[in-house]
Amino acid sequence: MPDAVTDPREDDEVRIVELDIPSDVRLIENVVELIRHECEVMDFGRRQIMLNVPVALSEALSNAMLRGNRDDPEKHVHVRAEVDANRLVVEVGDEGTGFDLNERSEDPTTLDHLEREDGRGLFLMRQLMDRVERVDVPNGSVVRMTLHRA
């Protein structure tokens, strides 16, 4: 087997990772590692690789599995990450009926929310990504997150 040559990376390089997996939260960590690696290859900042990308992506994946697909392993989650020298765009799709992102903007940092266990997922996605959008697709719902390389 020949040695793996280091990527002859070019400025216009785009790396795309696509996955389709059953709803099983134990798969999340490895999905995150795959996409985090792409961001590392593209020289994203250390904090983005250690905090923004993994946390926001975990949130989107667990919402897709547990909220969208109601933890039904027969329902799948589709992930598509596109990374280039400027930004990461990652889409997480589930087979749920969708939800209104704008209606879900409670602030979990208020005093009366602070002791609640849940409700921090979308908040963290918004804090850690530059942009969070939701789109309806046939038979499902997609959350798209964008992070500019820094």
Binding site: R47, R120, L124
Partner: protein, 110 residues
């Protein structure tokens, strides 16, 4: 991803190795609740070997802190790296928990 528990004096010290996320947080919760049931009162969770924490991991910490307080116990956190500190600050959970810089300082603070 694993959690190792040991006793230092009167304090139950839990090391979180790897991520604390939706896939494994139940394990942490159960381990700490088992100790609480055995009558332990002082808990320290050490994050020096932790990668990232997601919202459900944070949720488990909130839940444990309540349960420990209800039994008249105390929970301290220690060794959050800068990224984890930022996570606690973003969610204002740094105001809910007692967070020490080092394990020793956390142990002395009980």
């Amino acid at each position: 991803m694993s959690f190792s528990i040991k006793k230092e004096g009167e304090v139950v010290v839990v090391d979180v190795e790897g991520q604390l996320i939706v896939g494994n947080r139940q394990e942490l919760k159960q381990k700490v609740l088992d100790e609480l049931e055995r009558g332990e009162k002082k808990f320290l969770i050490d994050f020096s070997q932790t990668g990232y924490i997601d919202s459900s991991g944070l949720g488990v910490l909130v839940s444990l802190s309540k349960k420990i307080r209800e039994q008249g116990g105390e929970l301290r956190l220690a060794n959050l790296n800068d990224d984890l500190k930022t996570l606690f600050e973003l969610t204002k959970l740094d105001t809910l928990f007692q967070i020490a810089d080092t394990r020793d300082r956390a142990l002395q603070s009980f």
